[in-house]
Symmetry: D2
Subunit: 405 residues, 4 copies
Amino acid sequence: MLKLDFHPAGRHFLQIPGPSPVPDRILRAMSLPTIDHRGPEFGALGLQVLSGIQKIFKTTQPVVIYPASGTGAWEAALTNTLSPGDTVLMYETGHFATLWKKMAEALGLKPEFIGLPGIEGWRRGVQADAIEARLRADTGHVIKAVCVVHNETSTGVTSNIAAVRKAIDAAGHPALLLVDTISGLAAADYRHDEWGVDVTVSGSQKGLMLPPGISFNAVSKKAIEASKTAKLPRAFWGWTEIIEMNKTGYWPYTPNTNLLYGLNEALDMILEEGLDNVFARHDRLSAACRLAVQAWGLEVQCADPTVYSPILTGVMTPEGFDADAIRKIIYERFNMSLGTGLGKMKGRMFRIGHLGEANDLSLMATLAGCEMGLKIAGVKLAGSGVGAAMDFLAEQKIPPLKIAA
Amino acid sequence: MLKLDFHPAGRHFLQIPGPSPVPDRILRAMSLPTIDHRGPEFGALGLQVLSGIQKIFKTTQPVVIYPASGTGAWEAALTNTLSPGDTVLMYETGHFATLWKKMAEALGLKPEFIGLPGIEGWRRGVQADAIEARLRADTGHVIKAVCVVHNETSTGVTSNIAAVRKAIDAAGHPALLLVDTISGLAAADYRHDEWGVDVTVSGSQKGLMLPPGISFNAVSKKAIEASKTAKLPRAFWGWTEIIEMNKTGYWPYTPNTNLLYGLNEALDMILEEGLDNVFARHDRLSAACRLAVQAWGLEVQCADPTVYSPILTGVMTPEGFDADAIRKIIYERFNMSLGTGLGKMKGRMFRIGHLGEANDLSLMATLAGCEMGLKIAGVKLAGSGVGAAMDFLAEQKIPPLKIAA
Amino acid sequence: MLKLDFHPAGRHFLQIPGPSPVPDRILRAMSLPTIDHRGPEFGALGLQVLSGIQKIFKTTQPVVIYPASGTGAWEAALTNTLSPGDTVLMYETGHFATLWKKMAEALGLKPEFIGLPGIEGWRRGVQADAIEARLRADTGHVIKAVCVVHNETSTGVTSNIAAVRKAIDAAGHPALLLVDTISGLAAADYRHDEWGVDVTVSGSQKGLMLPPGISFNAVSKKAIEASKTAKLPRAFWGWTEIIEMNKTGYWPYTPNTNLLYGLNEALDMILEEGLDNVFARHDRLSAACRLAVQAWGLEVQCADPTVYSPILTGVMTPEGFDADAIRKIIYERFNMSLGTGLGKMKGRMFRIGHLGEANDLSLMATLAGCEMGLKIAGVKLAGSGVGAAMDFLAEQKIPPLKIAA
Amino acid sequence: MLKLDFHPAGRHFLQIPGPSPVPDRILRAMSLPTIDHRGPEFGALGLQVLSGIQKIFKTTQPVVIYPASGTGAWEAALTNTLSPGDTVLMYETGHFATLWKKMAEALGLKPEFIGLPGIEGWRRGVQADAIEARLRADTGHVIKAVCVVHNETSTGVTSNIAAVRKAIDAAGHPALLLVDTISGLAAADYRHDEWGVDVTVSGSQKGLMLPPGISFNAVSKKAIEASKTAKLPRAFWGWTEIIEMNKTGYWPYTPNTNLLYGLNEALDMILEEGLDNVFARHDRLSAACRLAVQAWGLEVQCADPTVYSPILTGVMTPEGFDADAIRKIIYERFNMSLGTGLGKMKGRMFRIGHLGEANDLSLMATLAGCEMGLKIAGVKLAGSGVGAAMDFLAEQKIPPLKIAA
């Protein structure tokens, strides 16, 4: 049989924008013995994770947990709220927004896909005014939902969701607001209730630091109301029965127990650190990363500084350099995985993940690997990104490490 | 936070018919570091598990692996092959057959639910002749699929799937054959190709000894053909793109890597022991268990000896005894979980799981816990089931333990 | 390389009297990352385990923790308190008492070895009156220490240490009292302070449920005083520097960090259950085990009911049956390890461990494996030991399992 | 109870010169179930680790494995070969050489301690000619053994053992050669047989990447011969019985099974990578580290380039800067542990470990943490050590990462 211990001496640096490195604590929690999902302890576990995850979404409304990957939670958001042939307004921020739109088509919806032209749209966030304009024009309220991606994993752009909410309200339009923050949750600030989101979609393998296999729908009262008349067929993804059984901490079908152990531990870690501290850490690391890219004389994929992603940084490679060839050098020489350019950006950029289980020194290792790899690949760098990042990080005032004892 | 180490001194005996106890080897494998699901090692892992799982299903055709619970694989089997309003012939063998039928309704299909009346149908297997008769009557071929459960987890009955195939053929009917062997796979003999099954649905948390979170569709050429015209909306569950990407060992969306590590280890364990030895072990343990039940003077739920389940044994409790009260005594006094009676059998039976990570002595512990618990509950037993089981097991000729060295 | 996953499907039953099965909780704790043994967190860990272990020994005096096996702690007890050529009175209770005596000789001490003749001495506990008589005769106080084994692992006899203390006091003799409770600690009641023991020797792999590799000396003021003039050379085992550095939670040389994590978890588990509950559990399991042996018509090795061991039961095999051949059958057929007969008892008995991570059902599995194995070996049994044990256990009133939530 | 998950978000960097970071693979191996140390599988495990460890020491002679820390193996080397009052020639290379000398005194030996004066001796290796001169003068052969440290963990100096052997031979002196390579083994080249070492002492928690708790004596025929007449009392440490029982893969007393699992895995990892590749990796990382120190304008503790340690680098801090205050900043701000200055070097230097589970990027993280910490502490650096290390590493030609598949 194949040996799964793939990597050689020294730790592998998994610096893709998710799955992010899973902390040992979470892997250990996941190795607790599987228990009876109908037994008395399970209810206690269920109630605890359901309550904890609400804090992460900043909601007091139900969060549905699926024993499935994030793509499934996209589907759940659509099938629970919409009917065959419904028009949905979707905004193209990048590859994942595009995939979500394709899914909507496959499910028999009519997505209207708007956005800035060419790769320009992949370098900026959602333009809320464009949404507002389109909704104002939709006087017949044909559009049933507005779908946007909060943190676009393919580009490193974190759109302003509050602005989208404001746009919908300004247009006086009744469309639901569905938001994908699969890669944003627990890394970038997110406020399901305050921002008036109807369905928030998320997953486990990014800011929550879990392996893939759990996904979420946080839902509003309006979304639940919509689900009562929505006609897309659904069973596995149906909210009603899940939300009902969740009241006692159980699920209508077999939940993935061991990943829930991991989720429980992740919630413990994140709430212990404090959500604000988690966000500040991601902000600091992403700022240092962008300074490095700029010092190298390369371009950050995100062209609008107000929507830089705290989770990942897209790095555009100069003309004549295949980004994937550079990634291969870095992988084979420095045992580090970086994200590839997706869709329109294939070969033109690579993505550095700095999310979840990440700190100043893991970022420095990452940047050093990039800098050396770029040099080996023959890219002429304007200066040392590593040096720039160190200058910045050494200046930051952060409280000293608190020992647990 | 809640402490997850729920159980007191000494090992908990998880003797429900799934999730079954997860072997340490598999928990350890699941704690390997999460890797890039687009990186070079992942493809090697993917190809290996895809090839290994075919051996378990006894098929050379594609097996689709979902990062989702078994209920999802039920949905996948239906949505990939059928269109809204299609009639499906479903056979009531117990609670799970009933749930699958409800799902078919929820998805907009028209299930026709046949079976023996009352609890009688829950004590016997699928009556292939009834299926044949129904199909013969369907001269217009309105019925698009026949759906049966191989090992009915709610009753402990393992139906004869070859006979169902034969019935369909005898009727000369073109309906697809969809089979749920969620709890049967890798514990009871199963032959996807030889039995001419079109879609076999299974899951991870039973004979495969994994935690819940992975599920399967083994598919036939005919099923794939059907999927090209089937009109139920689908995206997450769609076979086409998955089967295409699987050719190189990858998946179109994020697979649940760490559970795949576990699957890889499970395949290694099962193929190392040998499928025939695995089946023989389950046969031996289930035979011993039934002898114990008979020695106690209680009734086995399955009333037809030709379809006894090797995976679990349903035990009917005498009049006047609530099966769940007995289960509670056993749980609180002996730290053992048994399966509850489901649906029509609520309170009238309990279920003993003897599947997956099980051997003679773990069964003896289980039976001793049941026997003592029944006595404490005040049930008058005809004799010692534990003694009967020991008499049987001590007689069995099995090869001595082979040391790995 | 050799595959370490030695055992086939289903759990191996490790029923030797130590190393006992290590609970998953402890294995998980041991997998925490190794930290700087001079860093700030280490001191917190050190102080906690040092304080916890005192509760287990029931002492307020220092407990020295060695990063070494139990045999080393035997040596430490002797070298810290005695000088070359010193006479020590040692009592033969079995194989381990004999090994300790050999060690004393190897270290240049003069052990005087007393006890009942033949195997009779291996079937009864320490005869305190014989010790008293010998000490009264030693008017010149040539004897510097009395060495006894509390729980003799080779026989299943737990001697009365309070009686030995009383004997020494009655004789008005200044000898130190050194006690080995390597296999007794945290399973049988033990009171270092109340019983006036000067050095108690113990280890990790028995009642503490850890893997081997940690051992202990609990020491009295009198023992520390003796160490100031004791002349046996010592360095690694020397108490003084260790006790001094332990004040801040550190050790003079590298402690075995990951086993200390395990110790911390073990202390947590044991103190959570409550020492008295732990002892009661061992008493119950050992009583059930002896009833089984008696029902089989076999003899328990321990011939004195007042000193039955709660940790293990020695089972004497009938004339004409090689105990090791029976053990081999049980190992190869039922995947269970039992303890061999040691020294004088080689081939004449086997030992059943029922200690540490043990409960009613794990004992029942064990007894069932013994009963079936004895039958397969051709031993004529008077009756069912399994039945006798079940009758006894089902009668016991113990509080219901408390769910952690 | 105290929570053992001490560290906050992101991985802790344990960059002390041992215990070194334990790879996940080894932690997982250590969590295999403890087995009967007298059972059939154990012998297979024992034979395998005993054979594997010989390859690491480059010897065909016995390697004694102790279930104890490295300090114990120091004691074993002395007590097995020497008699009370024996004179031993010991060479002062640093703090650990000094501790070994103190141990010799405590055991009743007469160490003669030679070396260069002041801290000069702590900045250079063993001067073989001084040893030769001393031995030539010892015409009466009063000196029974020469004791030297191969890799002095307190300074970062790796002495030339072949030269010491040559010196002894040149002097025609019969003294035994005892060498401590506790921190050198499996990181710096070491040749027990070729260099004619009589006893090599080592431990688990450095190049072998295990937690502390296992230690070694590799022994020569001459050493075994000496042990027959050596009169220091010994029992736990005695070679004879261990070597005898090792022939079948067992030990006379309880070995620490779970650490042996870890050792088995470590041997697998190291031999798979290839010892020469392991050494080359350590050489590369240490060279990069020294270039960084020099670029900072700081002094490497080791003043002789021919004996730089591949395992650790001692960094001397400028006048007016307390090295421990700098370490504290780095610990609290960057979650990285560095080694303190020991003995004569207290406060004047810190030690960077780059051994075992280490690669280019983990070194870069380490150096970045040092560079930023030094700046925060106010040390004026001549230039960027991180930049210098990157320049060097990017130039190295090493084969691309080999994927296991």
